[in-house]
């Protein structure tokens, strides 16, 4: 496999790769490289923070006292922010790269927003556990998670007064897509999910008295179905496999769907719904490495931040600033805009976010300075002046470890940096501009490249 294809694979299955890591892979076959990627993700390492403070609360105390509930909620909110930080950390530093990327993908598919930190952590780890597993088992597990039961009101779904929220989103957003079911299907399937509940610890339980054990008429069938049966019937529809394959394609390959590729993917995925097999097929296919896909995707804010960190590791002096950055870029982990999740692609970009994104690397790594010194320009007064001015004005303080960059890129010539940092060939105009700039500092060139619109793509 060549350098370009390795970079492409690692940008899509992860958040980029350094020249030092590429050295280990270059010359291996595609099968070997893809195998390595999957082997490294064969285990699941749950993401766990210290929740002992919350776990010490008891249901009885919470039920009785409002002030206890207020305390609980306050700690819980803090813990969710902490979990956000832990998740960002995990994304920048993991052995199970593909599993983590898939977890991020599924978190924007099975979308929830939850304020109990215990349930948030549990849900996040269910995503991680099933990320490369069986899609059917995944949906069933999700349907029984407290975070989902609360978010889509299955908790309020009772035999006498059904709440259709979960049943609707299950089909519209999680499995089939709009237009592939009827209002009747929603009404009938909602009955199968009546009585779903959970306890304080986060375990699922079915309230038998609230559960409708009667007949349901669903997709032309009739039976005394429960929730899992309904999911099984949905999975029988080939449309479900198609819907998921399209979403995977848009996220991992190209936001413009190729129907021939989708059909091949559906043939791999249906009827067994093995996610690992599907992903292996995608990353092994020739079309995945086609020129038109390389560098064609607009990075999500998280991909952008983690990607920068992969090239030049940095630490925020105040960890909470990470939230600030996520917020201005429009993607705060664990805080999706609605049940449909982040729309992605071009919707990340508006007149504000584009400027913030273009500025981000320089602010995080170089005191907001982007050198525009031309070749043969000796005077560095401008830089000094700007650095001085910027230093006090930066929105946050960071510690950038350029030494790690220097070591990872030690064998890379300054003229070749762009091939590692930018995924697509640079246009002649941009190239001639960059070529005219002074190249005495690898660090300056790295920042210049990371400040191009092209760097927003992977």
């Amino acid at each position: 496999m060549n350098q370009k294809h390795i970079l492409h694979l690692y940008w899509r299955a992860g958040f980029g790769i350094t020249p030092k890591q590429i050295e280990q892979l270059i010359g291996k076959t595609k099968t070997q490289v893809v195998d390595t990627l999957f082997r490294q993700s064969s285990k699941t390492t749950p993401l766990v923070i210290d929740l002992i403070e919350l776990e010490s609360f008891s249901v009885d105390r919470l039920k009785k006292s409002k002030s206890t509930r207020i305390d609980f909620n306050k700690i819980s909110r803090e813990k969710i922010l902490e979990f956000n930080g832990a998740w960002m950390q995990r994304l920048t530093n993991t052995n199970e790269l593909l599993r983590e990327k898939m977890t991020l993908f599924w978190a924007n598919h099975f979308v929830v927003k939850e304020d109990n930190a215990v349930f948030v952590q549990q849900y996040n780890n269910v995503l991680r556990q099933h990320a490369l597993g069986n899609f059917g088992d995944f949906v069933k597990a999700i349907s029984k998670e407290p975070a989902m039961i609360k978010y889509l009101n299955t908790k309020q779904n009772r035999k006498q007064s059904p709440n259709e929220n979960f049943a609707r989103e299950l089909m519209e957003l999680f499995t089939l897509g709009t237009g592939h079911y009827t209002e009747q299907d929603i009404k009938q399937s909602a009955k199968a999910f009546t009585g779903y509940n959970h306890d304080f610890e986060g375990d699922f339980n079915l309230r038998q008295r609230q559960h409708d054990t009667g007949f349901k008429y669903f997709f032309g069938k009739a039976g005394k179905y429960d929730g899992d049966d309904i999911i099984d019937i949905i999975l029988e529809q080939k449309q479900c496999a198609k819907f998921i394959c399209e979403k995977v394609y848009k996220y991992f390959v190209n936001d413009r769907v190729n129907s021939v590729h989708i059909e091949q993917m559906v043939n791999q995925f249906y009827p067994n719904y093995n996610i690992e097999k599907l992903m292996r097929f995608v990353f092994s296919s020739d079309w995945f490495y086609a020129e038109e896909h390389i560098g064609s995707k607009i990075k999500s804010p998280v991909e952008l931040i983690v990607g920068i960190n992969n090239t030049v590791p940095f630490k925020l002096k105040n960890e909470r600033d990470s939230l600030k950055i996520q917020r201005v870029l429009g993607q705060v982990l664990l805080s999706p805009p609605n049940v449909a999740g982040w729309k992605g692609g071009r919707s990340w970009i508006d007149s504000n976010t584009i400027m913030i994104r273009l500025r981000l690397a320089s602010v995080l790594l170089n005191n907001a300075f982007i050198s525009s010194k031309e070749d043969g320009d000796f005077v560095d007064a401008y830089k000094q002046r700007l650095l001085k001015r910027n230093k006090n004005k930066l929105p946050f303080q960071t510690d950038a470890k350029w030494s790690v960059f220097e070591s990872n890129f030690s064998k890379t010539k300054v003229n070749n940096l762009k091939e590692y940092i930018i995924q697509q060939p640079l246009n002649n105009g941009t190239l001639s501009y960059l070529n005219n700039l002074n190249k005495s500092s690898k660090q300056d060139v790295c920042i210049q490249l990371m400040s191009l619109p092209e760097y927003q793509m992977c």
């Binding site: 917020r327 609605n338 504000n352 273009l358 501009y433 927003q456």
Partner: protein, 396 residues
Amino acid sequence: MDRRKFIKNSTLASSLFFVPSFVKAFETVASSKLGFKRLVIIQLSGGNDGLNTVVPFRDDLYHNARPTIALGKDDVLKLNDDIGLHSSLGPLKRLYDQGYLSIINNVGYPNPNRSHFRATDIWQTASGSEEYKQSGWIGRFLDNYGEHPYNAIEIDDSLSLALKGEEYNGIATKNPEALFKTANDPYFRGVLNHYNDEHLSEHNLGYLYKSMIAAESSAKYIYETTKTISSTQEYPNNQFGAQLKTMAKFINSGIDTKVFYSSLGSFDTHANQKGTHSRLLEIYAESIEAFVKDLKQQNTFKDTLILTFSEFGRRVKQNAGHGTDHGSANNVFIVGENLKRQGLYNDMASLSNLDANGDIKFEIDFRSIYATVLNKWLMVDDTKILNKNFMNLKFI
């Protein structure tokens, strides 16, 4: 085919389309299609307690439901024998007395949602409670009728969903100088001076370059158009006051902006509501009055309409913590010079006929207000933006 679609298609059709002229093409036709009227939208975030804002101070049901937080006849500024404004709303009462205020009661939508996030999305995207739209109503106004991002400006650091369209977005800025300086970095200028049109024909990369060009030219336009404007009007010394001051400065500069957006937060008064609510209403009313005075001095008030909403009202019955929980229907304020219906637009809902949650039932769909504003004020086809027909109201 309308002009915008035509321009879009020709961009796709011709890879020879050179971008400085692409930007120019928009600039020369600026304002050609849009009128000179402008809309200001203020969101009271967190769910303003409408019932303690416009108060049925003689209603026993009101007092029974709120034993410790209800406002009596001495706590309100009377509008008539039964209804009064919260006493912190003195400045707003003065606007009312001049005939500049219309209060629309019981505004909401069917099957109301009581989550802040979801309810805010519903108001900002103009969707029903069962549909999820991913573009805002002002964003769709830009999609159909806008020419530049700065046709809709939010006075804030980041852009609300309301101003994000399917294709086009508004722009957010609190500080035009900072925005201008960022966009004007010598390196970015260098990049923009050297791009080729090939950049722009590429699917997503082209979009990024176009966004960068639009941001740069908008930042420059906003900064240069507004930098010399000054005003003697005093504003309350708080963030909201500062935002409205910036907004007035923009308006008085003659900037080609049709919609301004701003918000005032912290209305989520679950506990010990009285003090907080009173302080927030005071900030709101004082700032709005200063804003109106500022515009009047420059003769721009007559072309400005100010719409104030909150994502939901609050529960009629107070809670045990001397506060109120999330409710549904609420009042909307319209401030402007030539209102067709001044004062109370409609009666307040009866507190004896509440929904199953004990919330006020809605009478007027909020999208009827949007439709009216789009149609009668901004003079555009409201159905193109709302994708549905809503009854027009008669306040303008």
